[in-house]
Amino acid sequence: MDDHNTNRPRTMPIQSATFSGSVNAEIRRAAATGIYDIRGGGAKRKVPHFDDLLFLGASMSRYPLEGYREKCETSVTLGTRHAKNPIELEIPITIAGMSFGALSGPAKEALGRGATMAGTSTTTGDGGMTEEERGHSQKLVYQYLPSRYGMNPDDLRRCDAIEVVVGQGAKPGGGGMLLGQKISDRVADMRNLPAGIDQRSACRHPDWTGPDDLEIKILELREITNWEKPIYVKVGGARPYFDTTLAVKAGADVVVVDGMQGGTAATQDVFIEHVGQPTLACIRPAVRALQDLGVHREVQLVISGGIRTGADVAKALALGADAVSIGSAAMIALGDNDPRWEAEYNALGTTAGAYDDWHEGNDPAGITTQDPTLMARFDPIDGGRRLRNYLKVMSLEAQTIARACGKNHVLNLEPEDLCALTIEAAAMAGVPLAGTDWIPGRERL
């Protein structure tokens, strides 16, 4: 009897797709600690993205431009609608808002150095403007956030553009978070907070609610700065058609739409992974809103959230954006999550590429920390050069694609240059599924 049982084939252990190893680990972690998971970065789940689109290139009906001989422009001007002094950028790739506090002072300096060498702008964050970034950023966008940490009229006047932040892709509807480990004396002083507390900033602005109020708020900001500065309105990827429409009606010069892959310094994982739409799903509705209002290209559209390569840049522009913005990719260019620190990532219970506990302030790369010893590992001059190189490569890649599509400016790329590899991407991007003339959601011609 025993022999019979021993030799009988057994059912192979099957792991549940619903209760996977990582899901169960998170249940155990929550049960042990009593707190939701807080982390940095953007959505890690797989969502339809630019990888699901392809360019068609030149053919009988489109002739290409010579790669090394014929010009393909990359310059873009932001803020032409109302501002006296629009921002002129050499490349259509900007650096997204990241706070001093979340990042170290030298990291902010490196972003300024790299962006300036590449001819583009960088952006402050939820902690006010530092001398490092103002001094090293030829063009600096000053964020106007619900917390108003460090907000003052002098910095408003010495910035090059103002970005009113309504939301961000990682957490549409959520406010900033900076835990006590990173509230050093300098960070606390800039934010008027006690050092060492867990800072959770407000999720909406303290002195306006809704688009009608925002119109008056924008009027006030224009009056304070004598109508010189372009005013951007940044929204998370929630309702891109209506959000863009309302931002334009409120008077924005530039609308920034940040999809769910856009990063944050710290927030709840449940927020990052379950609130907001993928970047790819946001672009066409935002463009349609601008077209319906007759202001496409007059009000510029900046897209962010998961931009990594020149191909991503080119695809975003082809779908109608005027520029893109990068945050996570810029940090990786500086040295974040670099395998050279693998042993230290392992000691923190993670691995290079997956490290996202930026809020704890123990970043081995010395970028997302206020610890002087760790900060000293990061060289802002070298970091600036690396970012410059990366931005230049992205621009060259975008130009390569644009030339192949026969365009003498990257902004001349158009949806007709694209096809999609999946039905989902075809529907979101509003381009035909490869090998067909089918755009899901639209009637065939």
Partner: protein, 227 residues
């Protein structure tokens, strides 16, 4: 005295003219007539000038003020003196929502009542309200002092940081982490000084001080129900 007719000359000309006043200007006294509830009157000033507004104002009057002394001979709309850095803003009538929001310095005096969210997210400003204040006032207030000669509405000082609140009348309810605190001699001195500056005739001994219990400064699952 320089007189500026807002209805005739327009908002842009007004603010540009006031911005053009240098620190050593001898045109130190300005009177604005026909404000008619316009928004963004006298915003972003940065000179030691006196600005008298002959009537009521709309949103954000005196926003981000530095140095200037602004008097509104009427009532003020939402966000009066928002993010003020220094100087004074005095409202002879009532103030709407968010009065003194995120203010970092200076003195805001409201001789009537203030609506909800007075002093929201204040960061160093002093606010004296001769009348009552509405609900959610001093929400997430970080530093500075809010003095109320009348009564306060619901959820006073919710999620308060280090700002100090002084109320002479009743408080309908306190917000999360806001508690009654002892009035010590230094608080009496501070309050008397603020009352004097605000032209308020009141006895500091009659006020109650409120501040942060500091229990929400660090996340604790046992306090989750408080948020």
């Amino acid at each position: 005295m320089q007189t500026f007719d807002l209805e005739e000359q327009g908002l842009r000309a007004l603010n540009q003219t006031l911005h053009d006043q240098a620190n050593d200007t001898n045109q130190t006294s300005w009177e604005i007539i026909n404000p008619r509830g316009s928004h963004a009157i006298a915003v972003g000033l940065d000179a030691p000038i006196e600005v008298k507004i002959k009537g009521s104002t709309g949103y954000y009057c005196g926003g981000m003020n530095k140095q200037a002394d602004i008097l509104v001979e009427g009532s003020a709309g939402p966000g009066v003196a928002e993010n003020m850095m220094s100087g004074t803003v005095v409202i002879e009538g009532d103030a709407s929502q968010y009065a003194g929001a995120t203010g970092r310095g200076g003195l805001l005096v409201i001789k009537g009542n203030a609506s909800s969210r007075c002093g929201i997210s204040m960061k160093g400003i002093n606010i004296v309200v001769h009348g009552n204040i509405g609900h959610m006032s001093a929400f997430m207030a970080q530093s500075g002092n809010l003095v109320v000669l009348g009564n306060a509405g619901d959820a006073l000082g919710d999620s308060l940081y280090e700002a100090q609140l002084f109320v002479r009348g009743t408080v309908k309810s306190l917000g999360a982490d806001c508690v009654k605190k002892e009035m010590r001699a230094e608080h009496i001195t501070l309050l008397q000084d603020l009352l004097n500056k605000a032209g308020a005739n009141a006895n500091p001994e009659e006020f109650t001080r409120y501040g942060s219990a500091r229990k929400l400064y660090h996340f604790d699952i046992d306090n989750a129900g408080t948020y």
